[in-house]
């Protein structure tokens, strides 16, 4: 497994459970499963023009993880940083009914079945990360300083 950093840009949508699961799964990958590899990119900041977020996504492999089929993270990333290396739609992993559940959204209401969903999504994220060919989007500049191609 390569040690090259991989960006994960995920939705954190508050309107339904899919957003909550997406957020927690991404955090799990970043904190536990691929701590030295995963770099989370803040979606609101990315979309609002965050220089660090966008520069990273232009240079390093980046995957998007969306809580529902609106695919806000995927579309936003593609619009601002070019083609992404992979995308996940959590509603396809945990089922649309679960993803669009608006009754259970807050962290404090989650039960063990929801944490199992988090684990399932986290595993899919890791699977996608591990399968990435860093050169799949064209070779990155060697020794690039993450300038986003400016230098």
């Amino acid at each position: 497994m390569s040690d090259e950093k991989i960006g994960i840009i995920s939705c954190s949508g508050e309107e339904c459970l899919g957003g909550t699961i997406t957020r927690l799964a991404t955090r799990k990958v970043m904190e536990e499963m691929r701590a030295n590899v995963a770099v989370t990119l803040c979606l609101p900041l990315f979309l609002a023009g965050g220089e660090e977020e966008r520069s990273f996504a232009k240079v390093f492999p980046t995957i998007s993880v969306d809580g529902c089929d609106k695919l806000c993270a995927k579309r936003g990333t593609e619009k601002h940083s070019g083609k992404i290396n992979g995308s996940l739609d959590v509603s396809k992993i945990i089922g649309t009914e679960n993803a669009l559940n608006t009754k259970v959204v807050m962290n404090k209401h989650l039960k063990s079945e929801h944490f199992q969903m988090v684990d399932k999504v986290a595993k899919e994220i890791v699977k996608m990360m591990d399968s990435l060919d860093p050169n799949a989007n064209g070779p990155k500049k060697s020794g690039c300083c993450c300038c986003g191609g400016k230098c």
Binding site: S12, L24, T26, T40, C42, L45, L47, C72, M106
Partner: protein
């Protein structure tokens, strides 16, 4: 004000990188689902920023309250751009300063003091909802 719906739209930044993003998210959900059920609704910031017409229709002309976790103020800025009428721009940091603690939790899980901040912000949000 848009008379098609009287619900106030509440939009958190939900930044995934910091505990303040989680506080914003949980505070908004507490206010909307527990303190003011039926009077307010959340709108995903990510969706607003896609620029989709449907997203814009949810915000444009409506009373909005934004909750931002950091000085970048992503929620406030983008709701303004989308045409929302912002009643209050709430900053999580302002409440964090009022409730000093050495451990609020992390961007994944809040500790007790983090929950206190959430409760305080939720009350501020509720104060803006008729």
């Amino acid at each position: 004000m848009n008379f098609m719906s009287e619900k106030t739209k509440v939009v958190p930044c939900s930044g995934i990188g910091k505990v303040y993003g989680l506080m914003a998210r949980e505070a908004v959900l507490t206010a909307v689902h527990e303190l003011c059920p039926g009077k307010a609704e959340t709108v995903c910031l990510g969706y607003i920023v896609t620029g989709d017409r449907e997203a814009k229709e949810k915000i444009e002309g409506f009373d909005c309250v934004t909750v931002d976790g950091c000085p970048k103020m992503c929620a406030a800025k983008n709701v303004k751009i989308a045409g929302g009428v912002i009643k209050e721009e709430i900053k999580v940091m302002d409440t964090v300063k009022e409730i000093k603690s050495k451990n609020y939790g992390s961007a994944t899980k809040l500790e007790a003091d983090g929950e206190k901040v959430v409760a305080a912000i939720a009350a501020k949000i509720a104060g803006n909802i008729a």
